[in-house]
């Protein structure tokens, strides 16, 4: 139950920070948003990674949702063809990249947090000895 709550919180905060990153126009901030969540929220790394991966995708979908009805899929399809790519993969690729940035950021964040905690513990143990 506790895990589920932590995952939900991670996801929600991840979506909020991810959306804010997209609003800034600097897509790479998705990495930072994932890392921040990874650092500040403590849960099992795998759950955290999955939650942030999903959060990145959700933030992206939320961001472009208003454009979906305006012909975005057709536009992305056409642009994909011009760029020499399969026109169908461009839109999913965008979402996957957002998810990967957020998820990878989360991995780095949680690793930093755990490494810091391990180091702190080691220092405390050394002091105690």
């Amino acid at each position: 139950m506790e895990n589920k709550l932590a995952i939900a919180v991670t996801f929600i905060v991840g979506v909020a920070l991810g959306y804010a990153s997209l609003l800034s126009g600097v897509w790479y901030l998705m990495i930072l948003s994932g890392a921040i969540v990874g650092v500040i929220l403590s849960t099992r790394w795998l759950y955290q990674f999955l939650a942030l991966f999903a959060a990145g995708a959700a933030a992206n979908i939320t961001y472009i949702y208003p454009l979906l009805g305006d012909g975005l899929p057709k536009l992305m399809y056409d642009v994909g063809l011009i760029a020499g790519l399969n026109g169908n993969i461009l839109l999913p690729l965008m979402v996957v990249l957002s998810a990967a940035m957020s998820g990878a950021g989360g991995l780095v964040g949680s690793s930093i947090r755990e490494a810091a905690r391990t180091r702190l513990r080691r220092e405390q143990t050394q002091k105690a000895q």
Binding site: L22, L23, S24, G25, W27, Y28, I31, W45, N60, Y63, I64, L67, D70, G71, L72, K74, L75, M76, Y77, D78, V79, L81, I82, A83, G87, L90, L93, M94, L97, S98, A100, M101, G103, A104, G105, G106, L107, V108, S110, S111, I112, E114, A115, T118
Partner: protein
């Protein structure tokens, strides 16, 4: 320890993914393109059909832009400045990428956007002087604006238009809605200036650029005086000249036309090199302007021959197709203007259209060498020789190139002390934008004609109608050639550039081809020669652009239909596939072959005898006619050209086939289509072939039938398998192109363009804007262009008109004087621009 290793492994994995994504961003445009906030996704915002409100710097009052249900923009403003500002804004919203491609092309700089593969384009435009002329045109307009009302109006319009374009660029940059092509190319749009508009207008002028003079010289080098048989000065068929001058050829004009300057090997070498490099075919990478075998239609019928009692004007300029199309359809309304029509993306003037008093349309003129004249001039050590005196060559450094000019124009090629120089009338100062701005508000023929007096190039026929008047005029600076030696050399070829021959002025305005309310009650000006052989000025030959059969068909229709309606005109323009050359010559062919017992010939004749000359998609006889004609053409002329050495020596620039070059990879010479028809009707193939016409015809029919039956063994070789249209995207991306789509017609019909056979060779040109305006009620006007208003391929307005056009359909042209009177049912969306 194990836990620690896991942490570092996860850290490494996360960093690896991040590094990978960053590397993708560094080495590919993918991250830039796919960025949800700034990438191409935001271009979908422009696809939304919603009312929009923009606060912009530069406007003085509110301007309202209504897009009607067909996609046409109706712009309402309270003054000229705001009207052209709004036009610039809305055009940029729909066509910014195309506009910048156009401007860069006209300025000889398109390779900076599209890459080095467009270098030949840039060299072409730069060398012929287009960017220099665009800059000089604007400087002269600006300099005269305080004293010349037309220049003042031009400056106002161009500056306001530029402000509007730039206001949209600023908006799009802020909102990340620049056309996705900019994002794909990593190109930042430049700020629009009036020079860019003149550059776009220059592109229209280059419709007229041609290398006919070089081709004629090469033919003359090989054929001598037989060139005049191959390229006759006057057509033996043409009997209708809209501006008159019927009668025997003017002896002086004929003497000039048959007095060609000797073309020695050096001159032929230079002509060949230049033709190789500059022939429009090799420059047709962008799908605009440079299609060498496109023609246009226009006719106007007086009230006493229409069912309403008022004139009807029909326009059908034939240009290369592209998506987005060359036209953008608007209505412009302010206290000065209330005009409807099509504008070029990048120039704020209605080129073809109507207001509540008049309507007008344009076609290319026949003959007169495309306004491009070539000279053989001596040059040495940075000087050129003229009248026995050496003068310094003027050098221009532009677009990284050095262009050398003599008094006659730019040097195209230099071989030792010999230079080939071109005088291109497109470099003549001509405020075409000002002329069109005045036409747009003209209320009578007098005002219309007066407005065109400053039109110097390109060579165009302007058809006109108002309630009581029909007229046509071909305004331009048509040079008058003189010679100190007496008789000038033929301007259709290369001329001596030593001062002996010179341009002494232009044909006076009251003598350029023109007619008002002719007694026959109609005027047709569909690229046929405007003036008869008796015209006292040299006016070119039959070489380009049209053999005239199309115009003859239109004249014949109007002569035989004493009362016509708008519906009749639609039928004639878009649903009449009569090949008039077939109508003229097929009876002779059938008679000649009547005794031929070859089974294939008999089979062909059985179909041709009952054929109505209509190039319908479901006609097998049409296919037989086309291929018979094409093989007859080849069998008659190609051996001759080989025998004379024209082929293979010049096959890279002279590689003709019939019907304007309708076989793949070939070019057309209108004269030779005229020649072939004449051969068929006279039965005499001499001097081109030693065979009899019967022999040539029999062989051609057998070739045609063998080809058709082998390519379609089921016998279903209807014309729809061989003819139709392609609509390529601007940059030639197949997935953004439309077609091939079958449609009737051929080179000799109003729906004309050269091409045929495999779908890849179907024409990508045709009537680029079909417009019918009834003077009885301008609300009863119709038009369509094959394309769409938006350049965004995901827009419903990208190619929607193509599907109307391909069926020969029309859309109503809603001419609505104010936004408050706009019927709600006709409104798609509204854009409101207010001052910031």
């Amino acid at each position: 320890m194990a836990s620690s290793r896991g942490v570092y492994f996860r850290l490494g994995a996360g960093l690896a993914v991040i590094v990978l994504i960053v590397l993708i961003g560094v080495f590919t445009p993918l991250i830039t393109l796919l960025n949800p906030a700034t990438g191409v996704a935001q271009n979908a915002a422009n696809l939304a059909v919603v009312n929009r409100h923009y606060r912009v710097n530069g406007l003085t009052n509110t301007a309202t832009i209504i897009q009607d249900v067909n996609g046409v923009y109706h712009i309402y403003a309270s003054n000229n400045h705001d009207l052209f500002f709004a036009l610039g804004y809305i055009q940029a919203e729909n066509r910014l990428f195309q506009m910048e491609v156009f401007a860069l092309t006209g300025l000889g700089n398109v390779s900076t956007m599209l890459g080095s593969s467009y270098d030949s384009y840039d060299r072409f435009w730069t060398t012929i002087g287009a960017p220099l002329t665009a800059m000089e045109d604007w400087e002269r307009v600006l300099a005269n604006a305080s004293v010349n009302p037309t220049d003042n109006l031009t400056a106002t319009a161009l500056e306001a238009y530029s402000e509007g374009v730039n206001a949209y660029i600023a908006y799009a940059e802020t909102h990340n809605t620049l056309p996705f092509e900019f994002k794909l190319l990593g190109f930042k749009p430049f700020s629009w200036t009036p020079v860019d508009s003149f550059a776009v207008q220059e592109l229209e002028t280059t419709l007229e650029f041609g290398d006919d003079g070089l081709i004629f010289a090469l033919l003359y080098h090989m054929l001598g005086n037989q060139t005049y048989t191959l390229i006759p000065t006057f057509s033996p068929f043409q009997s209708y000249y809209y501006a008159g001058y019927n009668g025997p050829p003017n002896p002086y004009v004929l003497a000039v036309s048959h007095n060609t300057y000797p073309v020695n090997s050096t001159l032929a070498y230079m002509a060949h090199r230049v033709a190789e490099e500059w022939d429009p075919l090799s420059l047709s990478m962008l799908n605009y302007f440079l299609n060498p075998a496109t023609h246009s239609n226009e006719w106007v019928v007086s009230g006493n021959r229409t069912t309403t009692g008022y004139p009807i004007l029909v326009g059908g300029p034939v240009l290369s197709f592209s998506l987005p199309a060359i036209w953008f359809q608007v209505q412009l309304v302010d206290p000065t203007y209330d005009v409807y029509g099509v504008v070029l993306p990048g120039a704020p003037v209605v080129v073809i259209g109507f207001n509540r008093y008049i309507s007008w349309t344009l076609t290319d003129t026949q003959a007169i060498s495309d306004g491009t004249y070539f000279w053989d001039q001596a040059v040495k050590g940075g000087e050129y020789l003229w009248d026995g005196v050496w003068h310094p060559i003027t050098q221009y450094h532009i677009n990284g190139l050095t262009v050398n000019w003599t008094n006659l124009g730019p040097i195209l090629y230099q071989n030792g002390t010999n230079a080939l120089v071109v005088t291109w009338m497109g470099n003549t100062y001509s405020n075409d934008i000002g002329a069109l701005l005045n036409i747009m508000k003209a209320e009578s023929w007098q005002e219309f004609r007066a407005a065109l007096e400053i039109w110097k190039a390109p060579y165009q026929n302007f058809a006109f109608e108002d309630n009581t008047t029909i007229a046509d005029i071909s305004p331009a600076c048509y040079p008058i050639f003189n010679s100190t030696a007496g008789l000038p050399y033929n301007p259709s070829s290369i001329m001596p550039g030593d001062g002996q021959e010179y341009i002494s002025g232009c044909i006076p305005y009251n003598m350029v081809p023109q007619v008002v309310n002719p007694p026959q009650g109609f005027i047709v000006s569909s690229n046929q020669r405007q003036v008869g052989p008796a015209y006292p000025y040299w006016f070119g030959n039959t070489m380009t652009p049209s053999p005239g059969f199309r115009a003859l068909m239109e004249v014949n229709y109007l002569e035989t239909h004493p009362k016509v309606s708008v519906q009749d005109m639609m039928t004639l323009q878009s649903d009449n596939y009569t090949d008039y050359e077939a109508a003229l010559t097929l009876p002779y062919i059938i008679r000649d072959l009547s005794n031929n017992t070859n089974p294939l010939v008999m089979k062909a004749l059985s179909q041709l005898e009952s054929w109505n000359y209509e190039m319908n998609t479901n006609s097998t006889a049409a296919s037989i006619w086309f291929y018979t004609y094409m093989y007859l053409y080849n069998d008659t002329f190609i051996p001759y050209l080989y025998a004379k050495g024209v082929l293979p020596t010049y096959e890279d620039v002279i590689n003709p086939s019939g019907m304007g070059g309708s076989f793949p990879g070939t070019t057309g010479l209108s004269s030779m289509d005229v020649d072939l028809a004449y051969i068929i009707m006279t039965g005499n193939p001499s001097p081109f072939s030693n065979k009899t016409l019967s022999e040539l015809l029999g062989e051609a029919v057998v070739q045609a039938m063998s080809y058709l039956e082998s390519s379609h063994p089921d016998g279903d070789y209807t014309w729809g398998h061989f003819y139709g249209f392609n609509f390529p995207s601007l940059l030639g991306v197949p997935s953004l192109s439309v077609g091939p789509l079958p449609r009737g017609g051929d080179y000799n019909t109003p729906n004309d363009a050269s091409g045929g056979g495999p779908p890849s060779n179907w024409p990508s040109g045709g009537q680029s804007w079909t417009m019918i305006v009834s003077a009885s009620n301008i609300s009863d006007s119709y038009g369509v262009y094959p394309g769409g208003q938006s350049e965004n391929p995901a827009s419903p307005f990208y190619s929607n008109y193509v599907y109307v056009w391909i069926k020969g359909g029309y859309l109503p042209l809603y001419f609505i004087p104010s936004p408050t009177l706009f019927p709600r049912a006709l409104v798609d969306d509204t854009v409101t621009l207010t001052p910031k």
